[in-house]
């Protein structure tokens, strides 16, 4: 299959791996931001193909994992309303809130539906004017334009029975937050290719300048990741710090201007809580006042629902590269994908889940 097979090619991967070994003279700590990239690294054992001195640490880019507990609690509360049809992306349904998850809400009679596209949620609202349809609009900049489009379509069609529970996070503020930590070990970042397909590369320039850290926009296949790592190490070995684009088959420097415009029309930047992290200033999106009528928080008065995450696991240290999932006492024992204790075990793209799913025979 074109654009897939050549990026999973064993020979190309081994050649890149040899080149990395050849040029690497020092120890480097690199972070891939996106959970999809973490998933590929674990699935293909990319870390096994790197010299010992190159350490990969896994970033906060799993949108499912970082969606705050209170959003899940609000979602379950909403889904329980008898007149509500609650619509979500599939992998949010299993994510545990404080007491339950959406699958359980569904088993207890709630009308919970899974869709592949937010436009489908708008269509459900149109088809069922007697139901109040709520869409769980979560994700990074990748899903933001499509989610924005749903609100935009609902407004244009004058729908009265559609609203969104929004929990959107942004990548650059999260990188900034990591870099400004006193304990930061990360010396180079692989930026998330799909986020950059929407947003372009430009917004990473300021981070590169301010922190003198190389950032390579990378894809999601094994060859993409090895090439991104090679590009980072070349820069690091040469003492450089630039924004580079490995994922050129999808990402342009400007990004998708139309998608950005839709996002800007519907959403505005706001402070945002991250599950497993806490509040990061100006790191999320919320609906603009012009779209307030589609904000489920207002429609259903959900402001009173809050949930603080109890202490317990090492997600924090893992996200900073201070620990690896197998270092956690609960890993693969008390904490599994069936019974996740921590944010990073809840979705297949979380670092703990990826280790558990693919590598516990090596890690263990």
């Amino acid at each position: 299959m074109k654009y897939i097979d050549e990026y999973r090619d064993g020979e190309i991967a081994r050649a890149l791996s040899s080149e990395i070994v050849e040029i690497c003279t020092r120890q480097w700590v690199l972070m891939e931001i996106c959970g999809g990239q973490t998933h590929t690294i674990m699935r293909y054992g990319i870390d096994e193909l790197l010299p010992k001195g190159v350490e990969l640490v896994h970033g906060p880019g799993c949108p499912v994992c970082v969606t705050p507990l209170e959003i899940i609690d609000k979602a379950i509360e909403l889904a329980g309303h008898p007149d509500v049809t609650f619509v979500s992306y599939g992998d949010m349904l299993r994510v545990p809130g404080s007491r339950s998850d959406l699958f359980r809400a569904k088993a207890n009679g709630a009308d919970v539906r899974m869709v592949y596209s937010p436009a489908e949620a708008v269509n459900i609202a149109k088809r069922m004017p007697e139901r109040k349809v709520v869409f769980l609009a979560i994700g990074f900049e990748t899903t933001a334009p499509a989610n924005a489009m749903a609100a935009w379509m609902a407004k244009r069609q004058g729908l009265q029975n559609f609203s969104m529970l929004v929990s959107h996070v942004l990548v650059p503020p999260a990188i900034r937050s990591l870099l400004s930590s006193a304990e930061n070990r990360v010396q180079g970042f692989i930026a998330p290719g799909h986020v950059c397909t929407v947003m372009g590369c430009e917004e990473y320039e300021a981070l590169v300048k301010e922190y003198s850290v190389p950032i390579v926009v990378g894809g999601f296949e094994p060859v993409d990741l090895l090439q991104s790592i090679l590009m980072l190490i070349k820069q690091l070995e040469a003492g450089q710090a630039r924004v580079e684009n490995q994922y050129v088959r999808s990402v342009s420097y400007q990004g998708n201007l139309f998608a950005q415009q839709v996002m800007r029309e519907v959403f505005e930047v706001a402070d945002q809580k991250w599950r497993g992290i806490g509040l990061i200033a100006q790191s999320g999106l919320r609906l603009r006042p012009e779209f307030a009528e589609y904000d489920a928080n207002r429609v259903f008065d959900l402001h009173l629902i809050t949930a603080d995450e109890p202490e317990g696991c090492v997600s924090a240290q893992i996200l900073q590269g201070l620990k690896k999932p197998p270092d956690c006492g609960a890993f693969a024992g008390r904490c599994t994908p069936q019974n996740p204790l921590g944010a990073l075990m809840v979705s297949s793209e979380g670092a703990c889940a990826a280790y558990y799913q693919y590598r516990r025979h090596v890690a263990g």
Binding site: M1, I4, G10, A13, R14, G36, M42, R43, G45, I46, L49, P63, Y89, G90, D91, L93, F103, R104, A107, N108, M114, Y116, T143, P173, R176, S177, S180, S181, A182, P222, R275, G276, I277, G278, L279, I280, A281, Q282, E309, P310, E311, G312, C313, A316, Q317, L319, Q320, R334, P337, Q338, N339, P340, L341, A343, S347, Y356, Q357, Y358, R359, H361
Partner: protein
Amino acid sequence: MAHSAKTIANMICPAPFPEKDTILLGHGSGGRLSAELVRDIFLPAFQNPILDRLDDQAIISMNGTRLAFTTDSFVVKPLFFPGGDIGSLAVHGTVNDLAMGGAQPLYLSAAFILEEGLPVETLRHIVQSMHAATAAAGVTIVTGDTKVVEKGSGDQIFINTTGIGVVADGMNLSASAARPGDRILLSGTIGDHGIAILASREGLEFDSEIKSDSAGLHTLVADMLTVSRHVRCMRDPTRGGVSSTLNEIATQSHVRIELIESEIPVRDEVRGACEMLGLDPLYVANEGKLIAIVEADVAEEILIAMRKHPLGKDAHIIGTVTDAHPGLVTMRTPLGTSRIVDMLAGDQLPRIC
């Protein structure tokens, strides 16, 4: 932004989750949740030596004759899909469960749970399709039952079929029989049924239509067993896909199964759909494929026989049985690294991005 450094250093995690107290859709997925139901609820109540084998069929000896006996219920939505319908599926599913025990399938029962309001024409279509499938498979439906539930208490039509077949002397296929050194054969491309159902259920359109592989496998099995009796185990990887079936075999036989990723055939359309939806074909359902664990020295011979049969033309040797890490299924990637192929926890969910 200065405060965020402090917040990140103090990152915290959510609470442990309460005990399982409700049946979820995932309990029907054929993965780990299904296995837990069998282990925690059904086996403690029903335990007996015949059931304890936990194969796709029970083998019962009566007056010197060995009978294979199995049952399966079908709740597929939509009722009609590219490559089949709930009726043909209900016949193939049970025929295959018998065939996987090395049995010649003979007689089936058919029980229908109908929802009030179902058009009789729909039922007629389904029954005709069942008839055609039984005729093709050489089996006969000899008993049945019908119940009707109120509108809203079912989903148009549920079908249960039970089947009986005869197992030849000396045939002892079981998921507990795999031994280190054995080879693993797969009869063809994986994921066709699951993706065909998903595409037609969700209205997803692809360049070319993906068809379910629903088919009776007993003639393929007969061809294989004619070539050699040195087959240890056969399973059809339905719900939960190839990964769940192989995990069950690895657990029941206390062996490790090592797959070679590049040898597992997947249609381009199915791969494309899986890439798009964030699914792994190893976890997607099949209804006309089998996995056979065979002794190494007969593997090639059986493979050749499989490839001569229309349902085995894309057959491959996809891996070997070893003894390190018993209970584990691993896969050699095209990069030469090794990864776990885990059993599915619940339903496989499309990834968000």
